[in-house]
């Protein structure tokens, strides 16, 4: 029984890290810009498709048709030659193998541009408009983004293989000195967990230890006063939106080996990330992280057969149930500041 609970806890941590990472960007935008961004899921999706695109380029092939030979289904036989390996040799093969982590490098500038463009182009006109209209315009943008992706890449998910070295499961139990082969966990999920930890840590450090971050934090607390001090807070907030887009994007990239991305992947996470943010407290970064882990662990435990035997179907609703209870009992969320969006 111990192993079962331990594994479920581990799974909860892993899920929680993913939830926290996805919710982080959302709460960053809300905390700084006061904008409720329903397009956040779409940014996650765009990041995932950056990885898809990078891999498509890396696995480009020259196709030569051999009309003399026929495949078993009657079409002329195609001979395919991978291009990147032909050009770059072994390094090319490594690049293809590690295409997912490699695409992070390319995703960061792209998502930064997307984020800044979105903020300058559309979101900034909505700062003064009601939350309902912010929700609506970003929701509309999300629909457009996912339909564009659908018309380019089609409706079906596109699998992204993980690097061969990181496939399979690691025997965590053995590392901790327990019996071998009892507690095993997929390596890539552990990688994702560590990755989420690093990104979350970096965002916190950035806000905590840089002057830029200090100004932004000051702006979050009192925008007007900071503006009166002659600091151009708007430009910094634009960059924060870009940063949030980057965080969402890289979260999407690293998630692709776990879940083949399709155009709808963002919408699937959107509702969830909102729930995480409100449970943690709107605009509270530590709150979002804490809530992510809390919900991940609760969901994991709720899926245990022993729990479901007592509360059938609890695994389906636990997240929403927690959100409802928190919102009714403590509307500012776990770690939200008093007065922020409290009503």
């Amino acid at each position: 029984m111990f192993e079962v609970i331990f594994l479920q806890f581990l799974n909860g941590l892993d899920k929680g890290a993913a939830y926290a990472l996805i919710a982080l960007g959302l709460t960053l935008v809300f905390g700084t810009l006061g904008v409720v961004n329903f397009a956040h899921g779409a940014l996650f999706m765009l990041g995932a498709f950056c990885a898809v695109t990078v891999r498509m380029f890396l696995t480009m092939e020259t196709v030569t048709v051999d009309p003399t030979q026929l495949s078993p289904w009657g079409a002329p036989l195609e001979i395919r030659e991978p291009l990147v390996q032909a050009w770059l040799g072994d390094f090319g093969a490594v690049l293809v193998n590690y295409s997912v982590p490699f695409s992070i490098l390319i995703t960061i500038p792209i998502m930064l541009l997307v984020g800044i463009g979105l903020e300058r182009g559309i979101i900034k006109h909505f700062y003064k408009r009601p939350h309902a209209e912010q929700i609506l315009v970003t929701f509309g943008l999300a629909i457009v983004a996912q339909e564009v992706i659908k018309s380019i890449f089609g409706p079906n998910p596109i699998p992204q293989p993980m690097p061969t070295d990181l496939r399979g499961a690691a025997d965590i139990g053995a590392w901790l000195g327990m019996q071998a082969n009892v507690i095993t966990y997929p390596i890539w999920r552990l990688v994702y967990f560590l990755f989420a930890g690093v990104v979350i840590g970096a965002v916190f450090a950035f806000l905590q230890f840089t002057t830029f971050g200090m100004v932004v934090r000051a702006g979050m607390a009192d925008r007007e006063t900071v503006g009166l001090l002659g600091i151009n807070i708007d430009r910094r907030f634009t960059i924060m939106f870009g940063l949030a887009a980057v965080v969402a994007g890289v979260a999407g990239v690293m998630y692709t080996p776990l879940l083949p991305p399709n155009y709808h992947i963002g919408m699937d996470f959107l509702v969830l990330s909102f729930v995480v943010v409100v449970v943690g407290g709107m605009g509270s970064l530590p709150g979002a992280v804490a809530a992510g882990f809390l919900l991940g662990i609760l969901q994991s435990f709720a899926s245990m057969n022993q729990v479901k035997a007592i509360f059938p179907g609890i695994d389906q609703i636990i997240i929403y149930l927690v959100a409802v209870v928190i919102l009714l009992v403590r509307p500012r969320g776990l770690l939200g500041r008093r007065g922020v969006m409290e009503a």
Binding site: F139, G140, L141, F274, M282, I317, M341
Partner: protein, 378 residues
């Protein structure tokens, strides 16, 4: 109609609306939309949007969970058809009552918060209902497959009075099957009645109170006024509207599936209302019609049909047009919808009705009476 009860403008609006609705099979036929199923949907989603507007348009509470009431209405109606009788009246009656009760409970809890928290609360409740309907409550909802009528249903009242039928069980109204155009006029009657009720609500002191909640709730509370009962009443009324719409959908097409409770379905009614014009009476209905028209007509255009349409163009040019336009119709119709929606929210926050007003104002220099112009509820 007693003129003291209704202003001339309201009366004209109601009459005009009634005419437009009842004549739909005629004037929609050239647009390829004059077939009963779509016309029924126009009516049903019109009711849904009118009801949603009573909450969102008047009080400003943005609910992302109205599909739950719609779904509850559908399930109740199908169960009534299965257990009691194939007649539609009890089905609609029970659906409205049950969805109203459901709305009362959910509204009581959700209205303790406002703004985005209210939206998230309704969303959470709706998702819970959807997930439960989808899996756990399968004995009641039949899960993903959806609840259908079968030959072996008990139908105790029908059995008691000795009603029998041949073939697949079909809902009836006092013995007449509700399908095709009969179903359309049946739903149209309900749309006109509910439209009338919404009109009365908007013009009543109760409606004024709701609008006051929208403009400034805090001030209302400072004056010692408890706004919650008013907001709750609006919530329950709009929940009952949603339940009625759901029940009508189940009566005209006896299947209740869980998908109609998903949050995207709730999002759809929000889109309808915004697209048409929040807070106006006619706007949400028009929004509902436009979205349902898009969904049914644009989504059915495949490359084949486009190719036939662009056949007159020279080769190469026509394939280009088919390729480009093909992205926006067929299963890409959501893209068109998303674009239209974004443009509306950015440039025309009052929706189509605001556009109509602006255009009307441009032409209407004399400031005279234009009976087609609608009375904004705001």
């Amino acid at each position: 109609m007693n003129p003291a009860l209704m202003s001339r403008n309201d009366l004209f609006l109601l009459l005009g609306f009634t005419l437009v609705v009842l004549a739909m099979p005629i004037w929609l036929a050239p647009f390829g939309a004059g077939y009963p199923d779509l016309l029924q949907r126009f009516m049903i989603y019109g009711i849904f949007a009118v009801g949603f507007n009573i909450l969102f348009g008047l009080t400003g509470y943005l609910s992302f969970g109205h599909a739950a009431f719609f779904g509850v209405g559908s399930y109740t109606a199908v169960w009534s058809l299965k257990l009691l009788t194939l007649d539609a009246i009890p089905a609609l009656f029970f659906a409205v009552i049950i969805s109203g009760l459901f709305a009362l409970v959910i509204g009581f809890l959700c209205l303790r918060r406002s703004g985005i928290y209210f939206s998230i609360l309704t969303l959470a409740f709706a998702q819970m209902s959807y997930n439960l309907a989808y899996s756990v409550l399968t004995p009641i909802t039949n899960g993903e497959t959806g609840l259908q009528l079968t030959l072996s249903d008990p139908r105790v009242i029908d059995a008691a009075v000795g009603h029998t039928f041949v073939g697949q069980p079909i809902p009836t109204l006092l013995g007449t099957p509700i399908g095709g155009y009969a179903g359309f006029y049946f739903c149209a009657g309900f749309l006109i009645i509910t439209f009338f009720i919404a009109q009365r609500i908007a013009g009543s002191p109760f409606g004024m109170m709701l609008k006051a909640i929208k403009s400034n709730q805090t001030r209302m509370q400072f004056t010692g006024f408890n706004t919650r009962p008013y907001a709750l009443s609006a919530f329950v009324i709009s929940g009952m509207y949603a339940g009625l719409a759901g029940a009508l959908l189940a009566v005209t097409d006896p299947l209740a599936g869980a998908e109609r409770m998903q949050w995207t379905a709730s999002g759809e009614v929000v889109l309808m209302t915004i697209l048409g014009g929040v807070g106006t009476l006619v706007g949400p209905v028009i929004g509902a019609w436009i979205i349902k028209y898009f969904e049914n007509i644009l989504s059915a255009l495949n490359d084949n049909i486009l190719a036939r349409f662009f056949d007159f163009l020279p080769d190469g040019v026509d394939t280009f047009f088919v390729k480009v336009i093909g992205k926006f119709v067929g299963d890409g119709w959501h893209l068109t919808l998303g674009l239209v929606f974004v443009i509306i929210v950015i440039f025309l926050p009052g929706g189509i009705m605001e556009g109509v007003r602006r255009v009307a104002a441009m032409f209407d220099r004399s400031g005279g009476k234009t009976s087609t112009r609608t009375q904004a509820a705001e």
